[in-house]
């Protein structure tokens, strides 16, 4: 991490997928999106982008850490790792090798509400991706020895991402405190205690339960012909038998009655804090569906760029923060939170930073945002909607994410319009409704000294170096 990256621009998470009428196979000129459903229930979304001879294929499963019971946290992510370890038809390592040989890039990722696999290839090689991906939807071997080794890899991953990153630890503890007994209170990568006792039969069960065509969405974006893609999908995914996948319980967050505060001690140089409020998401708030969009714009008013309030007032004006930002995801499966996190400035402390942040939130409650500010964040929304079309991968991400968490990518088709319709009054309303002391959780990092001494030097002799 360099000084630069601490100050680097946060990319605006906004999306637009435009109007489309529904039917079994539907296409729209305006969006270039075609939708189809196979007989086994697998949904297919295709978006044409003919700028370069490239295609990205992603398979999304409705499964992630928020589906996991206590005791086996992290199982979705470990299973994702094991998905590269071979099927009856394609032995261990063959998946990656075949994609590599074809000049492709492939990887996978796990979140709270989804697990997704993707390949990016030159456009004529799409069938290779479908052949391999459909094979591992049902055909994984899940070998015991491979599992034992891969579990160590995941444990190293946890050390790298969380154990040795003070601020990640604070985030993990924040979630645990803010969401007691709730699936969002658990880390995506799983608790270390659970990882250490995970076994291959846990993975087997998870795999059988959730890796089914009816629980999967194929997203293809790029220089393709939709009819050909559908025919290809029928050939490779069509024959896979579906099993019924139960819908998970819709957890509600237990009503909070007072501010919660926690402190985490870890080796670090800088203090850090996270402050959050429970707020709704689009999926769980149909009767007030403008609220998440108002929160999204509110977030941009505070932290939508260098002209926004946090940069202007907390970093430059009062100089109380070195870095401070907001975070809100309107498209999670379950209601989440509105977060503010930051490091105090050199001459300030955590208490001063918290006070300054709360003062910013108070202003939003008391005074409508100015016309000029609202116009600026809306201009950014419109521009971002154009910029994001520069990445085929990102376009696929958006479609897959919406379809996975909201069960209907069309719900977001007029996201930009929803954002443009938000008023100053609505922003004030959500601020007053959710930014309450009894709805707040605060997690603070108490930095413990890092004692790095001068390194010792042991020049290695020539013999030792060449020994092999």
């Amino acid at each position: 991490m360099t000084g630069q990256s601490l100050k680097r621009v946060a990319i605006y998470l906004v999306i637009l997928i435009m109007v489309l009428n529904t039917s079994l196979v539907a296409a729209s000129e305006s969006t270039g999106v075609t939708e189809a459903v196979l007989d086994n229930g697998m949904k297919i979304l295709i978006k044409q982008d003919h700028r370069a001879p490239v295609v990205v294929a992603q398979v999304w499963y409705r499964i992630g850490s928020s589906y996991e019971p206590d005791g086996i946290t992290g199982v979705s992510h470990v299973l994702e790792h094991m998905m590269f370890k071979g099927t009856k038809r394609h032995g261990k390592g063959e998946f990656n090798r075949i994609i590599a040989e074809n000049g492709g890039r492939d990887n996978a990722f796990t979140g709270r509400d989804y697990t997704a696999y993707f390949q990016t290839l030159e456009k004529s090689r799409l069938a290779i991706s479908m052949e391999l991906e459909s094979d591992r939807m049902r055909g994984m071997l899940l070998d015991e020895d491979e599992f034992a080794k891969e579990l160590q890899v995941v444990i190293e991953e946890r050390r790298l991402r969380t154990e040795d990153k003070a601020e990640s630890k604070v985030y993990e503890k924040f979630n645990e405190a803010a969401f007691p007994g709730h699936p969002y209170g658990r880390p995506v990568i799983g608790w270390m205690r659970d990882l250490k006792k995970l076994n291959v039969s846990d993975l087997h069960q998870w795999y059988q339960r959730y890796y089914s065509p009816a629980n999967a969405i194929l997203v293809v974006v790029g220089d393709v012909d939709p009819d050909e893609v559908i025919a290809m999908a029928k050939k490779y995914y069509g024959p896979i038998k579906s099993s019924k996948v139960e819908t998970p319980e819709k957890f509600k967050v237990a009503k909070q009655t007072a501010t919660k505060r926690i402190t985490v001690k870890a080796p670090a140089n800088l203090p850090y804090m996270i402050l959050g409020f429970h707020v709704p998401a689009v999926a769980d708030n149909p009767e007030h569906d403008w609220e998440p969009y108002a929160l999204e714009l509110l977030s941009a008013i505070l932290d939508g760029g260098s002209a926004a309030r946090f940069a202007d007032q907390l970093i430059r004006g009062q100089q109380v923060a070195t870095a401070v930002s907001t975070s809100y995801d309107p498209f999670a499966r379950l209601a989440g939170y509105f977060l503010v996190d930051g490091n105090p400035a050199r001459e300030a402390d955590i208490a001063q930073l918290e006070k300054a942040i709360l003062e910013q939130l108070k202003q939003l409650k008391e005074k409508p945002v100015s016309h000029k500010e609202l116009q600026r964040v809306k201009a950014q929304v419109i521009a971002a909607n154009v910029y994001e079309r520069d990445s085929v991968f990102y376009q696929g991400m958006k479609l897959g994410l919406m379809e996975t968490t909201l069960n209907d990518w069309r719900l977001t088709e007029d996201h930009t319009n929803k954002l443009r319709a938000v008023t100053a009054k609505q922003i004030m309303t959500v601020a007053n409704k959710y930014f309450l002391p009894e709805n707040m959780t605060v997690a603070v990092l108490d930095p413990q000294p890092i004692a790095t001494e001068k390194p010792t030097e042991n020049p290695v002799s020539k013999e030792q170096q060449n020994a092999n």
């Binding site: 003919h50 190293e156 601020e167 940069a311 870095a323």
Partner: protein, 447 residues
Amino acid sequence: MLTNQRRLKQRLLIAFEFFILILIFPSHASAAPKIEHWVTDNGARVYFIETHALPVVDINMVFNAASAREPADKQGLAMLTSDMLLEGSADLDSKAVAEGFEDRGAEIGTSSLRDMAIVSLRSLSDKEYLEPVLELLAKVIADPKFPEKNLEREKARSLQSLDHSLQQPATVGRRRLYELLYTGHPYANHPSGTHESIQSIRRADLTDFYKQFYVASNMVIALVGDLSLTQAKLLANRLSRSLKKGRPAGILPDVAAIKGGEHRIEFPSTQTHIMTAYLGTKRDDPRYLALKVGNYSLGGGGFQSRLMDEIRDKRGLSYGVYSYFQPMQQTGTFIASLATKNKNLEEALTVSNEVIDKFLITGPTEKELVLAKKNITGGFPLTIDSNKKLVSTLASIGFYSLPVDYLDTYIERVNALDRKTVTEAMQSVLGSENRVTVIVGAGVKQQ
């Protein structure tokens, strides 16, 4: 913009199955887009790709004005100068500058590492948006005020950023590595500075640095997007005319050979980070492609590489292990790195060294070489499939004075490589006793 949103977003969303290695320079060739190249009246070199698929324009102004150009006792000066460009110009203060871009949905950014200091702009191409944004950009780069008060604030923030980055054992190790590889050379400068150097920087240092290096003949403009050639020429002229002509930065001193060694740093982490490094090559070195292809099989090709196979796949020792060449204006680096739990240090270190040493004796097998070439040539279209990727590719071609047909000939040049060429290239760069290893973790000295 001034946020650290990335931290939460990254953590919230995604646990990747393995590291995606971002290649230092994309691979290339067939049906490459046409590059127009010219030099403006006052000496700026321009590289342009016309594409109308999206109503967007991307501009990278690349100055030879990064940390390699700052004095050793003023480390961090180049980055501060780059940051401070947006802190006020002529009659505009920092907020007015930010509003000028953001009111029109434009994205402005500055960055500076060892070779390149970049000012980047992304805007909608519609005249209504692009015109005012360009006017502002020209003004910002032509007349930065570097206000004293803002500088004091940014210095304090730089110190905080530095402390923040030093919370990570990998950063601590990487800084040490550069000091060891480049003793006495400007590449030993830390782009983000040191505590002492940042404190000693004065406003006059910035104005002097700016005057010398932010000049048209020390700049490359990379342009991609929804513009005609005529429009692109007007745009480039406008930007370059806003600067003084000045002089190119000149050639950096040669990098001296180094003595290898192993260096251990104690750090309170659960993992030990191992970084194995050699001096690499210049960006325009004729061996560079052979090295890139060779490194694919050693540690650049993810699961197709020997390091990943031995360290992660066979032994479960590390989540990620990879190696890469970072070529620069002068001799760059080769670095292989991994992180493993403290107790596994010696095993991981032994395996990693054995893999590297063995590879340097025989090079890739024929099978490995074929796979590397197939991946690099077959993946060529992926490396130039967006305006964002194109503009940074152009910036590299321009900054390192690579031929304009670089993309057109890329595939055939990769395909022409044989085992002997690749192996000899790897041996000639890495096959010496100049290996520098830095190890950072808890209890590393006792082991």
